[in-house]
Amino acid sequence: MAVNPEIQGRVFPPTAPYLVGREKVREFSRAVFATDPINLDAEAARAAGHADVVAPPTFAVVVQEAALAQLLAEPGTGIDFSRVVHGDQRFSFTRAIVAGDELTATLTVAAVKSLGAHSMVTAQTSIVDSEGAHVVTATSTLVVRGDE
């Protein structure tokens, strides 16, 4: 089944707030080979002017995930998860994520394109803090393989 082109422009409801924990940031940092003390040590982070440990740039994917799950669970999109390949990914920051942030993600289907038998779905997730201020936009292109 092809991806339903009518989902382009669709905006999903904001996800439940995600509270960024200091130990989660440290765990994620170790998993991506981040060794900067600003990622790992709250004192070092404060000395560099941050409120707490700073998450590695790609940590935003953890927050984006709940928004993507909404899209993948939605009936009628024609997106078969078993055929999805992650095509590309981008993070554009207004500021870095730090431990203590309470983040909410809102996904917009920015584009649906077909490329032969395949479809490309661009999902743009805007992540804001508890004040509603923009932190980062995470953009994923999902390639949905069609029947060949």
Binding site: I38, H50, P57, T58, H86, S92, F93
Partner: protein, 143 residues
């Protein structure tokens, strides 16, 4: 603030950082737990084989996550990476015994010494082939 590199001493094309990351199956399990991505193609040979893959693959987001670390080290603060994008062009197959080596070379792609910003272009390769395309990190050293 942590000391930022002096952009007046670098030019477009300069290699500013390089690193090699040894990935093992343990690395993949650790990333699965840390990220919440438990797709079994990243830790089960039987599942990887059943969907026609050449072996267990590293999460693309793990490769993306580690590839920016040399840039963070050069910039002096992870918060100075203000934009980061990659295209996933080839999978990284992680052998159960020997693992995989991912090599990252970070070069200056664009430079604005006055604004203290730079675009750093990354080449990430494993087993002699590049695994990421259009991998670019924008850094703002004034932050």
């Amino acid at each position: 603030m942590t000391q930022a590199p002096d952009l007046s001493s670098v030019s477009v094309g300069d290699v500013v950082a390089e690193a090699t990351f040894p990935l093992t199956r343990d690395s993949l399990v650790r990333y699965a737990g840390a990220s919440g991505d438990f797709n079994p193609i990243h830790y089960r040979d039987d599942v990887a084989a059943s969907v026609g893959l050449p072996g267990v693959l590293a999460h693309g987001m793990l490769t993306m996550g580690l590839a920016v670390q040399p840039v963070v080290a050069w910039a002096g603060d992870p918060a100075r990476v203000v934009d980061y994008q990659v295209r996933f062009t080839r999978p990284v197959v992680v052998d159960p015994e020997t693992g995989a080596l991912v090599t990252v070379v970070a070069k200056v792609g664009q430079l604005d010494a006055d604004a203290r910003t730079a675009r750093i272009d990354l080449t990430a390769s494993a087993a002699g082939q590049t695994v990421l395309g259009k991998a670019q990190a924008q850094v703002d050293l004034a932050r």
